[in-house]
Symmetry: C2
Subunit: 177 residues, 2 copies
């Protein structure tokens, strides 16, 4: 069985993962959400992110996504080798790289938003699950959760659960049929 | 107590109510959904729609949204008086018109998507509830459920329920605090 790639994010009901300036002050933190994230992260040993997400993670001092037995991979055509300290830079063929990762041994793989890297991986059909923590707010504008990958992706609902703060946890499996 | 204005739609997980050409072949019809719609429509006596939604409704032969004790209102600056048979044309100040409707006697009011009329009513703060039937599909592109009204709208989750076909019914109340 190959490693599962999950696209996971907290988002607004109108599909944004952050305000236009990157702010996530509207996120609701709760013991519910922490418990779900603990369970989820316990099976993960790799994190995939695009350049913009990496820059946010690096600026926040979270070690660029690596740490605690989790390895970070930053996908960028413009960053220079050596510039993503603590993570591995992947500068071409993101879908092929992820396909090879999935065939190698290891735990599950978390794909972080924004949508540009995710979009290329949805287009290539290498994403296996989608997990969203939908917050009860319409932001109006911001950084989109989904960009158009140029194809439809059919999903199968795994679970739907109301958690603290009026948030809804939705989990889907990508259909291959 | 004033009449409740609900923005209701079936949508994809990535926030579209139809494909770019208007097609809704991806919608899942079930006894579950029919029962929920029957309950919902039993309290409704007015339907609000923009010109594009009206044109789709009129072309489908559904009487332009009126019928069965439900009155249709079409909001458009470009349509000519007399062109919306079976419905009432509202050619200016949509928010003011809806505010006056809410103060008059009557049943609840259904606001149909697309997003342009909805956006102006969210901007004006006259929408009271949001009800979505989220389908398990990422369409990639299409007619958006939400356009940017230029302001944030805070919501309160009323209910979250999985129904047939992996669809999720989400109901929210607009917060006024």
């Amino acid at each position: 069985m190959s490693r599962c790639v999950t696209y996971g994010a907290a988002c607004s009901l109108d599909g944004f993962i952050a305000r236009s300036d990157g702010a996530v002050d509207w996120l609701h933190f709760s013991e519910d959400a922490r418990e779900i994230m603990r369970d989820y992260w316990s099976g993960i040993d790799a994190v995939l992110m695009g350049r913009k997400t990496w820059e946010v993670a690096a600026a926040s001092g979270s070690g660029g996504g690596s740490g605690g037995g989790i390895k970070g991979y930053v996908f960028s055509r413009t960053l220079e080798a050596g510039s993503v300290r603590g993570a591995e830079l992947v500068s071409s063929d993101a879908p092929g790289f992820v396909r090879r990762m999935k065939e190698a041994d290891g735990g599950d793989i978390c794909l972080l938003g924004g949508g540009e890297l995710a979009s290329s991986l949805f287009a290539a059909g290498v994403v296996d699950e989608v997990g969203l923590n939908v917050h009860p707010v319409l932001l109006g504008s911001g950084i989109p959760l989904f960009l158009d990958p140029g194809r439809q992706t059919d999903l199968e609902l795994i679970s739907c659960r109301q958690i603290d703060g009026g948030c809804v946890m939705l989990r889907y499996r990508v259909r291959r049929d």
